[in-house]
């Protein structure tokens, strides 16, 4: 299955590895940041809703 890369195996594999790593890193960073922001926003919205409900009762 693995193609014969000849003398340049290290070069080709290094370039591909670095690229895939960089793309995966970018995607992972984006996803982690999105999740963190989304969670913080849900919490803040819940807090605001609670405060509003408490205010309405009082």
């Amino acid at each position: 299955m693995m193609p014969d890369l000849g003398d340049y195996a290290a070069t080709v594999l290094g370039a591909w590895g670095a690229t895939l790593l960089a793309l995966a890193g970018l995607l992972a960073l984006t996803l982690v940041q999105s999740r963190r922001v989304a969670r913080a926003l849900t919490e803040a919205e819940a807090r605001v809703a609670q405060a509003k409900a408490a205010g309405a009762k009082a």
């Binding site: 193609p3 014969d4 080709v12 370039a15 793309l23 984006t30 605001v48």
Partner: protein, 231 residues
């Protein structure tokens, strides 16, 4: 926001699919070049990354202009969202280029116009991202980075011509648009390369959508917290 949520899984699937097909095809099922041997396989990541590095900046320029002229908030955030992706593409193009240049030109780095322009482009991305993160007020940040992006584009183009003037190139010209001319790219490379290109474009769109959604949420969060403090 609603539209992007519905489109998002499709884009993600398509990006994954075309990247998968293009990369696997490029890596496993293409012949070696008679001169360059197996290093020609770097083509499938080097060229799309380089093209997207420039396209990302162009997209930032367009969205910055839309923000400056029409004051469309999402547009400014989309420009901000695209910058890290462009930075990563630029880095990929430079690193794979260095790795490719080592066996082919017998040097990791050469002060060739194309290579130098990409290094300068990298500096522009760094400055743009640094300015965004330095300014607290979101509107001010959007305005100032917009101005920087427009002015920077002009200077980036001038730098391109300046370094062309300054040194003759070692890097070959682009072969993508040479269909039908002499010395075209062989079909065996062309088809998987185009699929890889599509994959990179979709991947870029995916990242921009995800990051823009994140930035919109972040801004809503800031607004909510400010309102809370006011009580």
């Amino acid at each position: 926001m609603r539209l992007s949520r519905r489109v998002l899984p499709w884009i993600a699937a398509l990006a994954g699919l075309s990247l998968g097909i293009g990369l696997i095809w490029g890596f496993f099922f293409t012949p070696d070049d008679y001169k360059q041997g197996s290093t020609v396989k770097i083509l499938f990541i080097h060229v799309p990354a380089a093209m997207m590095a420039i396209n990302a900046w162009i997209m930032m320029l367009v969205t910055s202009l839309i923000w400056v002229i029409r004051r469309h908030h999402v547009s400014a955030l989309a420009a901000r969202a695209a910058a890290p992706a462009g930075l990563v593409f630029t880095l990929i193009a430079l690193v794979t280029g260095a790795l490719w240049g080592q066996p082919m030109w017998n040097t990791w780095w050469e002060w060739d116009p194309r290579l130098t322009s990409f290094l300068i482009l990298l500096l522009f991305y760094l400055g743009y991202i640094a300015l965004w993160s330095a300014i607290e007020d979101p509107e001010t940040a959007a305005d100032l980075t917009g101005i920087l992006c427009v002015v920077g584009s002009v200077f980036a183009v001038m730098s391109r011509y300046a370094v062309k003037f300054w040194n003759q190139g070692l890097h070959q010209d682009s072969t993508i648009l040479k269909v039908g001319e002499k010395d075209p790219l062989d079909v065996a490379y062309y088809v998987p390369l185009v699929i890889c290109l599509v994959g990179f474009v979709l991947f870029f769109i995916l990242i921009v959508l995800l990051r823009t959604r994140m930035l919109i949420r972040a801004r809503r969060l800031i607004a909510l917290e400010a309102r809370e403090r006011l009580g």
